[in-house]
């Protein structure tokens, strides 16, 4: 490929190749503060390519490729090349990673103990993690949390946070503009703007954290807390894991251990401030 970059996010070394300079330059900027080791072999390969050679110039659109592809995935216009790169990176990890149990969940840590938040798109797990990560928590990731099958520890995947729609203004008001990527307006997921995690979160990205609290947030309702049994947490997390089936018994063992050792709650909240208050309240009990 004409343009390429290597990026390490948590334990995953990506090699990203692109037919265009733009997406690679945007990634270079977002991931400038991440450790670089160009000699390390890639765990996941991402390719952004033009459908046909001339499409590189005329109404360019980005196709996503790599070790895994999703047939029929729509090409994105080149202006959304950064989003295409992010989607492709997520896809390679979701489908290809086998060293950890992969949960589609955000996570933050305090005192080497992890709060893991799992939920559908729109649950607010990403925004809550981003906001907590601006306080006295270490952001571990807004999209994926990795669980070590052997020891049970959580490991970070602190990619650039994908802020969506209302969350953009909410977070932008609190951080230095230099930590924000370009506004990607009108994508299939709405408006998107990336937030570069704090330098301390990136520096600590290989540090494990013991899971201490599991939350299943839902945004948009009155504040509420509901205790969740081990069985329900197990079912929800099998659904939230992209590689549970592929890991076989190791995944089963990791997940049963996680739900047994970690208290779980469903929370509903009307706004971020209420969500953070619930998190702190539950953490105060769980971390005792």
């Amino acid at each position: 490929m004409r343009h390429s970059v290597r990026i390490a996010v948590g334990p995953v070394q990506f090699r990203i190749g692109s037919d265009w300079a733009g997406p690679v330059a945007a990634l270079d900027r977002l991931y400038a503060g991440y450790p670089r080791d160009d000699a390390r072999p890639a765990d996941a390969t991402v390719r952004l390519f033009a459908a046909r050679p001339w499409r590189r110039w005329l109404r360019p659109s980005v196709h996503i490729g790599g070790d895994f592809i999703v047939p029929g995935a729509l090409p994105l216009p080149l202006s959304m090349g950064l989003l295409a790169a992010e989607m492709a990176m997520n896809l390679q990890v979701a489908l290809g990673w086998r060293r950890h149990l992969l949960l589609h969940a955000s996570a933050v840590a305090r005192d080497d103990r992890a709060l893991i938040m799992s939920g559908e798109s729109g649950s607010g797990k990403s925004t809550l993690a981003a906001l907590l990560g601006e306080g006295d928590w270490r952001l571990m990731g807004d999209e994926f949390t990795l669980i070590d099958p052997a020891g049970g520890d959580a490991f970070a995947f602190p990619r650039a946070v994908s802020l969506k729609n209302e969350a953009i203004a909410e977070v932008a008001a609190r951080v230095d503009a230099a930590r924000l990527g370009p506004l990607l307006a009108g994508t299939p997921k709405g408006d998107i703007r990336h937030l570069i995690p704090r330098a301390d979160a990136i520096a600590a990205m290989h540090a494990p954290a013991r899971p201490a609290l599991l939350l299943f947030p839902r945004f948009g309702r009155a504040a509420g807390i509901e205790s969740m049994g081990e069985g329900e947490a197990f079912v929800r997390l099998t659904e939230a894991s992209t590689n549970y089936v592929a890991l076989g018994e190791a995944g089963f063992a990791a997940l049963t251990r996680l739900v047994r050792e970690t208290p779980a709650f469903g929370i509903t909240y009307p706004d971020s401030a209420a969500g953070i208050a619930l998190v702190e309240e539950l953490w105060a009990e769980a971390a005792r």
């Binding site: 069985g231 018994e249 089963f252 049963t256």
Partner: protein, 93 residues
């Protein structure tokens, strides 16, 4: 049907983990996870390695649990054994 005998999967084929009200069972042969509720884990446990008819299972469960009238439990156990067979956790002996 009601007196059909079944044998549980060999003990080393299953990994059984109680999770509160649910029990998660990992079948090493099919790599499938089954989530079951009471009384299925108790039935598997009571069967051990033996070929068991519903009557035999009822007899064994009655030693630990109050099954009510002696004959009432058998048709229910026959149904539950059929469900376990459909999941591949027991097979016809």
């Amino acid at each position: 049907m009601a007196d059909r005998a079944y044998r549980a999967a060999p003990a080393d084929a299953l990994r059984i983990e109680p999770l509160g009200e649910l029990t998660a069972i990992f079948d090493r042969r099919s790599m499938q996870t089954h989530l079951v509720v009471s009384p299925l884990p108790e039935i598997l446990d009571a069967m051990g390695a033996d070929a068991c008819t519903p009557a035999r299972v009822a007899e064994r469960l009655a030693a630990t649990f109050d099954l009510g009238g002696a004959g009432e439990a058998q048709p229910i156990l026959a149904e539950r054994l059929g469900e376990l067979a459909a999941m591949g956790l027991v097979e016809r002996a």
